[in-house]
């Protein structure tokens, strides 16, 4: 890529950086899908296609020392925060070398010691957890730290969402609460999920700042998340960000998403954020379609190589496994064999 085409260099650099993460996430997810179809992945595969712009904007606005608890559709955000294709593939394929060592899989991965939390399935549960993590940082006198976590439209209906966001608001902690309103929770459309006009209407009821964003527009997402993260970082308390977008894939790869309203697919909300970003990049003269194409090829070949490698890695061996759920050996219970 050649030098300086636009004048807003910062924006351009950031935009392109974010775009390339989105692209890598997209290509990686395509790989996961094909590995799933080929029978290499057991259990569910849950992709974030169509949600990369919003997701990457969260991860990219965080820095080392921050806390990030991504959710189901945050492959892009995860990679922006430092997760790798290698560990993603290891976790999905159950490699013994992955961060979860085959004990947990797919989206339930993380490295909590690095601020990158491993979600449990129960939706909403990560919200109070990030809140508590931020409380710990405050106890230790660390300021300028942000904690971000994500949830779907469906997840806003959980008691955990409510209790967690409320507690963060009471403590005025730097929580960035990102709602990816992708119109459906599995098959359930929003009109069976909530009755407010807009999920952003919830902000005032918690006494937190609210931000709305077009989740199909990377530029808008970068800007709004940038603002929200900065506001949290500088003591503005919890920030609720609601992105409007559409999940462009099944709930999981087993699901053909035939329930999605075609009108939504055809509407603005149904745009593919990756394509929209590509068009913007080309229109801004930041890269040519050919350059973009080569980035994709590059990403794909790297991921293919990584996948091939991971497929040869050892699976966990039940005979070598330490079958204990407690860290302290004194606390291990003994059951007759």
């Amino acid at each position: 890529m050649s030098s300086d085409r636009g004048k807003e260099t910062a924006t351009r650099t950031e935009y392109l950086k974010a775009y390339r993460v989105m692209l890598t996430a997209r290509v990686l997810e395509e790989k996961l899908s094909s590995l799933y179809r080929a029978g290499h992945i057991k259990g569910g595969v849950f992709l974030g296609r169509g949600q990369e712009a919003l997701s990457v904007s969260v991860g990219i606005n965080l820095r080392k020392g921050d806390i990030y608890a991504p959710l189901i559709r945050d492959q892009a955000g995860r990679m922006a925060f430092g997760d790798t294709a290698l560990d993603t593939l290891r976790t999905y394929l159950g490699s013994q070398l992955g961060s979860m060592r085959g004990r947990d899989g797919n989206i339930h991965r993380g490295r909590p010691r690095e601020g990158y939390y491993a979600m449990i399935s129960h939706l909403g549960a990560m919200i109070p957890v990030v809140t508590g993590a931020l409380m710990a940082r405050r106890f230790r006198g660390e300021s300028g730290v942000v904690g971000a976590t994500c949830i779907g439209d469906g997840g806003t209906s959980t008691g955990a969402f409510h209790e967690g966001l409320n507690a963060a608001a009471v403590e005025k902690l730097p929580l960035v609460m990102v709602v990816a309103n992708n119109q459906y929770a599995y098959s359930t459309p929003n009109d069976r999920q909530y009755a407010c006009a807009d999920l952003l209407d919830k902000a005032i009821g918690y006494g937190v700042a609210g931000h709305e964003v077009d989740g199909t527009d990377l530029g808008a997402c970068l800007e709004v998340l940038g603002k929200a993260v900065a506001a949290a970082r500088s003591g503005g308390g919890p920030q609720l960000v609601v992105g409007r977008l559409l999940r462009l894939v099944g709930h999981g790869e087993h699901d053909d998403a035939s329930y999605v309203d075609p009108a939504l697919k055809a509407a603005h909300v149904g745009r593919d954020c990756l394509k929209v970003a590509e068009e913007f990049i080309v229109a801004s003269g930041w890269a040519t379609p050919e350059e973009i194409g080569s980035w994709r090829v590059e990403a794909k070949s790297e991921i293919d190589v990584t996948a091939a490698k991971v497929l040869r890695e050892p699976a966990p061996d039940p005979n070598e496994e330490e079958w204990t759920a407690v860290s302290d050996t004194r606390l291990q219970d003994n059951f007759a064999a």
């Binding site: 259990g43 159950g94 008691g159 059951f335």
Partner: protein, 320 residues
């Protein structure tokens, strides 16, 4: 051929058809037919009576309780048994106590897609019967056959008390039968699914089939293994187990849930306190390991009891 899952769907279909008080409530169970397709087609067949719920397990159970107080017979589906922890309070503190406190019964059925499978991981694999069974006021059913899936769910809907219906995901499509049963085994009764004179295996749900496979294995060694399918774990049919142990003198309890407490411990406690003299050897048990259910298929299949592991346990027990 009718699968275990078909049987569950047929039971709900029949219940909806014959009793206007029955309705279904749960996540994605309407037009979509549910995560496992247990309610497929029912929303169309019974308009307005198969309703999608918000992602709110506590409210789902609470709503079922309220509807039951007003005379309805709700069947709620948890998307996975594991998510019932989010509706735990309403189940154990409200549904379970209502009749004792107020004399108003609480006829709800909570369907829990239970148990493990390869790749399910810690949060989509749990077996929770041993938790719910601890609470007075709840009935806990754990059908292990296509026939029981059907007839016990039909029973559950007619009962006035809250029923936790633990259906096993691994059996959904693996288990098949020729036809649905016309007659039902009495509520709360265990069933001897295989007769044998040497040792009794008391078990339930998916482990019935692992145990039967183990029994086959032991036949080759010349042993006759009796397998008791408990069917309902609260109330527990101690008499049938005792009668079996009276014949065999040996007992192995097999369960897929975590090893501390649960059904196996309860069965052993009852048999030893009420039928101590019947035992010729120490009663044994085999459960899953004392860790969360692991994701990787290799780990998963070592975590839960398998036919092989049961056969080994039986051999050890038979030599005692």
């Amino acid at each position: 051929m009718i699968t275990y899952l078909d049987a569950i769907r047929s039971a709900m279909d029949e219940a909806l058809g014959r009793d206007p008080r029955v309705f279904l409530y749960g996540q994605d169970i309407g037009a979509f037919g549910g995560a496992f397709k247990a309610t497929k087609g029912l929303a169309t067949k019974y308009p307005g009576r198969v309703m999608d719920a918000p992602l709110s397990e506590d409210a789902i159970v609470g709503i079922a309780i309220g509807a039951a107080i007003e005379g309805m017979r709700p069947i709620v589906e948890m998307q996975f048994a594991d998510f019932s922890t989010c509706g735990f309070n309403q189940i154990v503190n409200h549904a379970a106590t209502l009749f004792y406190r107020t004399e108003v019964p609480c006829p709800i059925v909570v369907r829990l897609p239970s148990g493990g499978g390869p790749g399910g991981g810690p949060f989509h694999s749990q077996s929770m019967e041993g938790l719910y069974a601890q609470y007075p006021g709840l009935v806990v059913m754990t059908p292990g056959t296509v026939e029981d899936a059907y007839s016990m769910l039909l029973d559950a809907v007619t009962l006035d008390d809250p029923v936790i219906f633990c259906e096993h995901k691994f059996l959904y499509n693996h288990l098949r039968a020729e036809e649905l049963p016309k007659e039902t085994t009495p509520i709360g009764k265990a069933r001897i699914v295989r007769h044998g004179r040497d040792v009794t295996v008391a078990t339930y749900s998916a482990m019935v089939h692992e145990s039967l496979a183990a029994a086959d294995e032991l036949r080759e060694d010349g042993y006759q293994v009796e397998v008791v399918d408990l069917r309902t774990v609260k109330p527990l049919d101690t008499d049938t187990v005792l009668a079996s142990v009276a014949r065999t003198g040996r007992l192995l309890c097999v369960s897929e849930s975590f090893p501390w407490g649960g059904v196996s411990a309860e069965v052993i406690a009852r048999v030893t306190s009420e039928g101590f003299g019947l035992l010729d050897a120490p009663p044994q048990r085999l459960s899953a390991k004392d860790t969360p259910v692991p994701y990787h298929p290799n780990l998963w299949s070592s975590h839960r009891p398998t036919a092989n592991a049961i056969a080994s346990a039986l051999r050890r027990l038979l030599e005692m």
